[in-house]
Amino acid sequence: MDTNISGDSSPTRPKWRKVAYGGMQPGFDDNHTDETFLEDMVMNANVVKRNILKVMQDSVSISQYLCIVSLVVLVWTYTLRSTLNENSLLLLDISLLGSGFLILLLTEEMLSLNLLLHYVLNVSFFTTGLYVLAPIYQTLTRSISSDSIWAVTVSLLLLHLFLHDYSGSTIRAPGALKNPNLTSCISLNASIVASVFIASRLPSRLHVFAIMLFSLQVFLFAPLVTYCIKKYSFRLHLLFSFGLMAVTLAFVYSLHCLLFVLLVGMLVFVNVVCPYWLIRIQEYKFEINGPWDEAKLCFDITD
């Protein structure tokens, strides 16, 4: 009943059609492979062409956060060596808190007294809680040897860096739409546990309070602050990042030469080698699309 359609195109042999009905097509085996085979296949349709400069600029966020964590570790080291006393630590805490608030206020578009009050209230609750808990932290890991503490802290920090959400901030500004995902929560918790371990090696209650406040401030709010800066102006973000890198490198150099080399190598790897690598392996990208793909819905599903 459908053979009459194909009869006139070539008198000797009917044309092969890409249809499944009507039984075996006369003159063609079931394993016939037509020249139209795979003609609907599309390769690398959705591949984004990346620019090396753009990738390098984006990777600055990662090295910036690396520097922030290195600075925290530096403060920990100086405190453990008693180079920094509790008063200077507290001063550092207050100045950090103040500058953080200032940056938030300056970069946030909707400046309101209500929001500020909300923040201040929360931070005061937080500080009080920390002060009350400080004695517990101080004696928490007394029965564990210091070697284990260093080893666990280092691995927790590595875990933190590995799982950290570099594109945004785990602590969101109020009213943010997306919830943080599981990996960034794990990362945040790893950093907090690391700070508790370090704090438990300190001599006095005030030390513990000061160092905990410092670590929590940095780990919780530094991503938020840097995110706000980045959103406000990319140029400022780059400037801030390079400044931070210079300061960190200077401090690390004064601490230990090998660590300095390691950090420089790390920064070069993140900022230069990795972007170049990413661009190089782009040419091996092989993405196949075709009629067999599951269709994408063009509207949002709200469950």
Binding site: N31, T33, M41, W292, A295, L297
Partner: protein, 448 residues
């Protein structure tokens, strides 16, 4: 009857009492092959307390291997756990060819691997489409590549499915045959008298899940109801998205115009189909859509999304295709309603009889079997080299798996030599219907 008679073992995790396209395909294909004089044995895993040997219509012997499924009717992949029992069945039934079905079935993959190790010719039928993007499909494609690296011939259910399988497995396209599903037109007859056209009924029968496009239905149904006050919907099927459809019905106050039937057993699909004029399929991916065939056989005009193998399934004047987008689907339904008066269900049914037939499918499959058996035997080394070319790491892994399988086979040969395994006597069935019934009775008595 001078030509070769085959002794075929069909393997899949999916068989009755479970229900779906693959199960249907294996059952009808087996029945028609039996009618052609071949011997067919089906191998599947135990369903609940249904384990052991059962006989179905026409003396179709089914082995329910006592191997419990663990996820979505699939057996736990153990690689070698099923080897002893599969070997025994292959030897007992004097099988000449193994035919596996469905890429998701672990039992099928394992059986094909063991059969190849023992030197049997194997044929594989792929019933589904798979993308290339996510982790799940990358894994599945690797498994498929492993099985298909050494398969003698492969069958796909549509040309799109063939393209997909060739890309996924790297098989030469000449080894892949396209043999579609069919429909039992005797079971899906149109309604005895034609329905009136005062009220137009659109039928949807599918599992209400994301892949079947239940979310498209949520957008399309209210729009069509708004445009045509004389249209009514009947939705058969159950699934996680049923709640969304029911919400939509509440929101647009369409309780009297959208009927939700819940899950429809296959036996009553026809009675639902014949109460409608138009069949709506909203799948987002489909290798071949049997539901469309069933609807067309019942004389319904089909509106479907243009995905996968669907455009190949019916001639253009029996189906209205639309992009998987609510606006285009509404346009297609409008179009279908406008050509509806020209459609005669009985004519449609008679055309379907000519287009699809399980006997035709069986004959075409028989050709594939003949071709597969004509292939030359290959030594282990030749086969290993083919596995090695599957990938830098995967190739070596595949080789290792096959070498262990080969050693296991030699071990089994020592432990239980092939000549000690009792062979099953053949029962020659007379071809007419009554004879089948008598033999079946005898079988049942033997079984109990």
């Amino acid at each position: 009857m001078a030509d070769l008679k085959h002794r075929i073992l069909m393997v899949s995790d999916f068989f009755y009492p479970n229900f779906g396209g693959v199960e249907n395909h294996i059952y009808y294909l087996s029945q028609c092959l039996l009618k052609l004089g071949h011997k067919v044995v089906v191998l599947t895993h135990a369903y609940g307390n249904r384990s052991g040997v059962r006989y179905m219509t026409g003396g179709l012997k089914v082995y329910y291997v006592p191997w419990q499924p663990f996820l979505m009717q699939n057996t736990l992949p153990t690689f070698y756990g099923t080897f002893p029992i599969i070997r025994t069945i292959l030897l007992r039934e004097k099988v000449s060819l193994v035919h596996g079905h469905q890429a998701f079935s672990t039992l099928c993959h394992e059986a094909l691997m063991h059969a190849r190790t023992m030197g049997y010719k194997v044929v594989f039928t792929d019933h589904s489409l798979y993308g290339f993007a996510d982790v799940g499909s990358i894994h599945m494609n690797k498994v498929l590549q492993f099985t298909l690296a050494d398969v003698t011939r492969a069958i796909c259910v549509s040309h799109t499915s063939k393209e997909n399988t060739v890309l996924r497995s790297g098989l030469p396209p000449g080894k892949v045959f396209v043999i579609p599903n069919a429909v039992d037109t005797a079971m899906f007859k149109p309604a005895p008298e034609r329905l009136g056209h005062n009220e137009i009924v659109i039928v949807v029968i599918s599992r209400l899940v994301y892949r079947k496009g239940a979310d498209l239905l949520v957008e399309v149904i209210p729009e069509v109801c708004r445009l045509y006050p004389n249209v009514r919907f009947i939705v058969g099927g159950d699934g996680p998205k049923r709640v969304r459809l029911e919400e939509m019905r509440e929101k647009h106050s369409l309780q009297d115009r959208v009927e939700m039937l819940g899950a429809v057993p296959h036996a009553s699909v026809r009675s639902v189909l014949i109460s409608g004029h138009i069949f709506l399929n909203s799948s987002l991916t489909e290798a071949f859509c049997i539901a469309i065939l069933e609807a067309a056989s019942c004389g319904l005009l089909t509106v479907s999304t243009r995905v996968g193998g669907v455009p190949e399934v019916l001639p253009d004047d029996m189906i209205v295709l639309a992009e998987p987008d609510p606006h285009d689907m509404v346009r297609a339904i409008k179009n279908a309603i406008s050509i509806l008066p020209k459609i005669d269900p009985q004519v449609m049914h008679d055309r379907m009889k000519g287009l699809y037939n399980w006997n035709d499918v069986a004959k075409r499959t028989e050709i594939v079997y003949n071709r597969a058996l004509k292939c030359s035997d290959q030594s282990l080394l030749e086969r290993l080299s083919r596995y090695l070319s599957c990938g830098a790491w995967a190739g070596k892994l595949f080789c290792l798996v096959m070498i262990i399988d080969f050693l296991l086979w030699r071990l089994l040969e020592l432990w239980q030599p092939a000549k000690d395994i009792e062979e099953v006597p053949d029962v020659v069935l007379p071809c007419d219907q009554d004879g089948e019934k008598i033999i079946q009775k005898i079988y049942n008595q033997v079984d109990h």
